[in-house]
């Protein structure tokens, strides 16, 4: 049995459970049990469950950014292909989870934005950071005439992320990645195609 436990272990255990059950259905007790941590240690690290939720969002965002980093910086691919590949990588993760879990940021966005203002702000920050990277790549794609010249890269970046989140929502209900694959086809092969 693992005896040493750290703040990191608790956050990781919380992330694993919260990805499946969401915030409200995740009991702190269950997380402590999974991480093999006494209750006192938890409150040494986190002032509240909300505070714990923020740490989990940060961890998840960092984890996804690590997945994205080599893709977004792969100079062997045109910028638009890098964006497409980044979404496809998330789709593969979703398929590997038997079409469960989805994206923690999306899940908590709908569950918590009206309830916890600090969480809402952290989600906003995470989504905005993602859009910033995509809009930089879309700007390059536009310079290279790979997307229509008169589309605003920032609007488009936000829209791609939103539509991906929506396709993920639909796929989570359908228990099939078909809506996500249609998202890829419609956006990258049709809507953004330069005629």
């Amino acid at each position: 049995m693992k005896r040493i436990h750290s703040k990191d272990d608790i956050v990781q255990a919380g992330l694993d459970i919260m990805l499946i059950k969401g915030f409200n259905a995740t009991g702190v007790e269950a997380i402590l049990k999974q991480a093999n941590v006494p209750k006192g240690s938890f409150y040494n690290f986190f002032s509240s469950k909300e505070d714990f939720g923020l740490a989990i969002i940060d961890r998840y965002t960092a984890e996804i950014n690590e997945v994205f980093h080599p893709i977004f910086n792969d100079e062997s691919l045109p910028p638009l292909e890098r964006i497409k590949k980044s979404f496809e990588t998330l789709i593969t993760r979703f398929e590997n989870n038997e079409c469960t879990k989805g994206c923690l940021i999306g899940n908590l966005s709908l569950e918590m934005s009206d309830q916890y203002e600090n969480v809402r702000q952290r989600l906003e920050q995470s989504l905005r950071g993602w859009a910033k990277v995509l809009s930089g790549l879309l700007f390059q794609a536009q310079e290279e005439k790979n997307i229509p010249a008169d589309l605003d890269p920032e609007m488009l970046a936000e829209s791609l992320i939103s539509s991906f989140q929506g396709a993920l929502l639909r796929s989570k209900v359908k228990k099939s990645s078909e809506p996500l694959k249609n998202f890829i086809y419609l956006h990258f092969d049709r809507f953004l195609a330069v005629k």
Copy 2:
């Protein structure tokens, strides 16, 4: 104080609270208090909280269908304009709620699809019913050459609903309807425009 209470009153009270707090954070006690109903009556009507959730989904779906019905059947508008208007109507509702609540179907899709199989199936049914109406209208729009001839109306219907749900998710975090308005612009004025 209202003394007569019915199954309908309880479902309505549950819907009001669940739209704000989601499923897991909604306590049956709070709903009974709001509907002024003794606990015994609740369990006369519903075998479990899950059963109650299904009744709330049905009520919400019926309510939205009532909003949609006159719009989808408005013969004075071309089919594609009816679809656009139906989304705009939901956006106005969202704005009237100060960018809170959103769509119960979308909210529960992310919160509950991995947890309650019966709920997942009911959400699937609701989303599929919506897509069916849209694909009928998109088929007409295609016959009238108002959308590209080689897009599959069924795929497109599902994609419009998904992208709308994603834009709603983003708007709920941003506390602004801007992502929803960009959804309307990008899809109806750009992506589906026939050149």
